[in-house]
């Protein structure tokens, strides 16, 4: 085994690799060890084809030519955090040195693919840094007593790429004094020279800039709520960067506005239940009146309407889909198997049944008879909408500060047909019904998922969301 010690720069790798190639060292025998911290290289590897100057060359074998494509890709990939990159570079280098001409063109070669993947990662990271650095303006007094402006940003790239990415800002903002801080390193331009220093935590950067409110105004106005597409937004602007992007604090209200707009366009008004809902805003009166409701056909098969229950001043309202078999018989929500899952999850984070208001988007049990059993059957969107009058009445009495929807049916009752739990669960929305609004899976969905891995993942998300609700509730009380 040969230990090759380098300092995490391509330049350092190049010197060591040249020596090893000259010794004809087998890639499998070389272990690459980085002796100092990363941060990319200071000296570039020269642009040309020749890697052949080999000042310490022991023999003729050290003189070989490496294609430009390899050097250009590896120089960039060297900024990646992946510790396996050095052995990959060396393996490719040895193959090239041993005569694999044209290897770099073979887009289906596993090593070439691996190198391309690393290079693309770093390039994307660099591009995102160019895009997502947000300067904040600060004023300071210099030695001469003049007030001068500086622009400071904190950004966290995925890889230590600051040295690669900083020259872009020098070209773009030559007549500005600026500093970019990252956890690994910092760069400062004083209108004369670009210098690099140590990394800094996020709170080392200024916490605000008056222009950010103006940019948020623009951001909100340029958005088209009819074309909501969070998937693309998240793919292009990953959430890990949001903390330093001032405009993203406006996203929840923008999304909520979208759902409202979609809901108002799709909602059949008024809801069919309206003719059965009494004027009185008293939970006992409402519960009683709901027994007579015939706003949709579901009531025909059900034993009774299962109205919500819980304190009339509850801050948190949990809304499920509809009562199940056991609820239908007992006349109380969430007392069956799904209720058990929910109660267990609530208990784990210190939420008690008697502290929350529990109800369903649809008040009657919809089912299909199978022999002696009654199998749950999903209510249609029309049925959900028809029942909405009862939910509205409950909201008017309880006036919850927080609503947690369990499952798509509940969320769609509020936000319209477009809502998808898989896409939007766990996000907090500010809504007309409660300032804190979230949707998560329905506990019965967790019981029904056939795929073990999917179930485990959904359960984890469900627990996370219940915990988030518990935290938000505790914060309200504090």
């Amino acid at each position: 085994m040969i230990r090759a010690q380098i300092d995490a720069t391509f330049d350092s790798f190049r010197r060591e690799a040249r020596r090893l190639v000259a010794q004809n060292a087998e890639p499998a025998d070389v272990v690459w060890e980085v002796t100092t911290g990363g941060g990319g290289q200071a000296v570039l590897f020269g642009g040309g084809d020749a890697v052949a100057d080999a000042p310490h060359a022991a023999d003729a074998r050290s003189t070989f030519r490496v294609p430009r494509a390899f050097v250009e890709a590896a120089e960039i990939a060297a900024y990646h955090r992946d510790p396996r990159r050095w052995s990959l570079f060396y393996r490719l280098l040895v193959r090239l040195a041993r005569g694999a001409h044209g290897l770099m063109d073979d887009a289906a070669d596993a090593d070439v693919i691996a190198l391309r993947a690393l290079t693309l990662d770093v390039k994307r990271d660099e591009h995102k840094m160019h895009a997502f650095v947000r300067f904040r303006r600060v004023e300071a007094t210099n030695d001469a007593g003049d007030v001068v402006e500086r622009f400071v940003a904190w950004h966290r790239p995925d890889n230590p790429i600051l040295k690669l990415a900083a020259p872009f800002f020098q070209r773009r903002f030559p007549a500005m004094c600026w500093t970019i801080l990252t956890p690994d390193a910092s760069a400062t331009w004083d209108m004369h020279a670009l210098t690099f220093g140590p990394g800094a935590p996020r709170d080392a950067a200024p916490s605000e800039d008056a222009l950010e409110e103006m940019f948020r105004t623009y951001y909100k106005a340029t958005y088209n709520p009819a074309r909501l597409n969070l998937k693309t937004q998240l793919r292009e602007m990953p959430r890990r960067h949001w903390a330093t992007l001032p405009e993203t604090s406006a996203v929840p209200e923008m999304v909520a506005a979208s759902f409202e707009r979609v809901a108002t366009m799709t909602a059949p008004e008024p809801t069919a239940a309206a003719s059965w809902v009494p004027v009185a805003r008293d939970l006992n009166v409402l519960r009683d009146a709901a027994q007579a409701c015939e706003a949709c056909p579901i009531h025909k098969g059900a034993t009774q309407a299962v109205f919500g229950e819980g304190p009339r001043d509850a801050r948190l309202m949990l809304v499920g889909e509809q009562p199940g078999d056991q609820e239908d018989t007992a006349g109380r929500p969430f007392v069956g198997p799904a209720g058990e899952v929910l109660m267990a999850a609530m208990e784990r984070v210190g939420l008690r049944r008697q502290d929350v208001y529990l109800t369903n988007a649809v008040k009657h049990f919809k089912f299909e008879p199978r022999g002696k059993r009654r199998l749950h059957s999903k209510p249609t969107y029309e049925e959900i909408r028809a029942c909405r009058g009862w939910l509205d009445a409950e909201l008017e009495v309880v006036k919850p500060k927080m609503i947690l929807c369990l499952g798509a049916s509940a969320a769609q009752s509020f936000l319209g047909k477009q809502f998808r739990v898989g896409r939007s669960r766990g996000q907090v929305f500010e809504t007309p019904w409660a300032p804190w609004f979230m949707a998560t899976y329905h506990p019965s969905a967790l019981l029904r998922m056939p795929d073990e891995a999917a179930r485990a993942e959904a359960t984890r998300y469900f627990d996370e969301d219940i915990a988030a609700a518990a935290r938000a509730l505790a914060a309200l009380a504090a």
Binding site: D106, A108, H127, R137, F173, M176, T222, N224, R227, Q233
Partner: protein
């Protein structure tokens, strides 16, 4: 009116313009100034509709003397009106640019008094930025049709990109809905810009000219729309034609449809446009006499391939590049990698997987070395379920369509 309110009103009014590109221009920063462009655009942010924020895209004013029926800013509409001063636009652009929020400015406007008067205002903004503030960032100016040759000649000296909207696909559409605009005036403005670009080279609107068409406001079919685009690309050297699905506006005129066309139609047009510009298709290959509209269910490349079964399956190891480009599921980059890699090895299906070819879509049209072979692919291709097999499992969501339109990979 305070500046923040103006920004809210005039950014809202500008958001229906689909273009936000900041690419295609190279400009180094000037001594003592700020801003440059390096060819590739940068998306500094993304709004929840999945669209990128690259430029400060605003109207100079939404006051307008025209009465284009599809436009929310038409004179007969009662929207809130606002107007920037040139200095206000300059300050906003520089303030945003210095904080790295944007790549530059996309300035459009309602028509004040006359097209010439309006263009003078926009040009003044661009000149203040370029000359007084040594601004090197991206500037896109939108001209109304009918602006004088002199004014357009000046505007292009400061702007990276100029655009004149085609507005609607055909002359009868214009007559019906945009009484003040004519194909003649629009073409003449595009012609003036095209001539100036040819004459001055990179010193005049180096990122070229683009245009935008509203689709679905009239019954005009896709074949006519694509024919118009084709004509614009070839006769005026346009860089890009943008398609914008008509969206119903408040208190619309009876001549307009009450509903917007499906967004997926806009998406299919972008796909078709992409096929014409990068995949070697001609516009008239993508529709037929019997079906003058693009299919909403399947993309135009797949639709074409299904009409030309006799050409498939084709062997990735020998097929010419031109034919590979026509294989559903193979993008330009994939094709180039295949062509490079097959000089070094005989490609198998596994190799294609490593090259990230979407075999689910491409397999019925391809043969590679090893397992399967021609017979298997032919069986796939002949299977009655072919259309279903290669169709996306769910119909393309409207919300995803826009993003894919931008990436353009088919």
């Amino acid at each position: 009116m305070e500046i923040k309110r103006k920004l809210a009103v005039l950014a809202d009014a500008a958001k229906y313009d689909a273009s936000c590109a900041s690419s295609g221009s190279r400009r180094a920063s000037q001594e003592g100034g700020i801003g440059n462009t390096e060819g590739m655009g940068i998306c500094h942010s993304y709004t929840p509709d999945g669209r990128c924020v690259s430029l400060l895209k605003i109207l100079f004013t939404n006051y307008c003397v025209y009465d284009c029926q599809y436009c929310v800013n038409r004179i007969s509409s009662d929207v809130e009106r606002a107007r920037f001063t040139p200095e206000e636009v300059v300050d906003l652009t520089l303030d945003f640019y210095r904080r790295n929020y944007i790549e530059g400015l996309f300035l459009s406007s309602g028509v004040l008094k006359s097209p010439d008067y309006t263009m003078e205002q926009l040009t003044r903004v661009a000149k203040l930025l370029r000359v007084d503030h040594k601004f090197g960032g991206y500037i896109h100016l939108k001209s109304a049709p009918g602006v004088s040759r002199e004014l357009l000649a000046e505007a292009g000296l400061y702007a990276d990109r100029l655009s004149v909207n085609a507005e609607l696909p055909t002359e009868p559409d214009l007559v019906k809905l945009a009484p003040e605009k004519t194909t003649v005036a629009i073409n003449s403005s595009m012609g003036i810009i095209h001539d100036a670009i040819e004459e001055h080279g990179k010193r005049y609107a180096p990122a070229g000219q683009t245009t935008q068409m509203i689709i679905g406001a009239t019954p005009t079919t896709d074949d006519a729309i694509l024919a118009t685009s084709s004509r614009l690309y070839t006769s005026h050297g346009l860089r890009r034609v943008y398609y914008s699905a008509y969206s119903p506006i408040p208190k619309a005129d009876g001549r307009l449809p009450a509903k917007s066309p499906p967004l997926v139609r806009e998406h299919r047009l972008y796909e078709a446009d992409w096929l014409v510009r990068f995949y070697g298709f001609t516009a008239d290959e993508l529709t037929t006499k019997e079906a003058p509209n693009l299919s909403l269910d399947i993309d135009p490349k797949l639709a074409w391939a299904l009409r030309h079964r006799e050409l498939f399956p084709t062997d990735v190891n020998v097929a010419p590049r031109e034919l590979l480009l026509r294989v559903p599921g193979l993008g330009v980059r994939n094709v180039d990698r295949i062509v490079a890699a097959r000089r070094h090895r005989v490609l198998t299906m596994d190799d294609l997987v490593r090259l990230r070819v979407t075999l689910k879509r491409a397999a019925p049209f391809l043969v590679a070395a090893g397992a399967g072979g021609t017979a298997a692919a032919a069986r796939l291709l002949d299977a009655l379920s072919l259309e279903k097999r290669v169709r996306p499992p769910v119909q393309l969501g409207l919300f995803e369509a826009q993003a894919q339109a931008v990436s353009g990979e088919l």
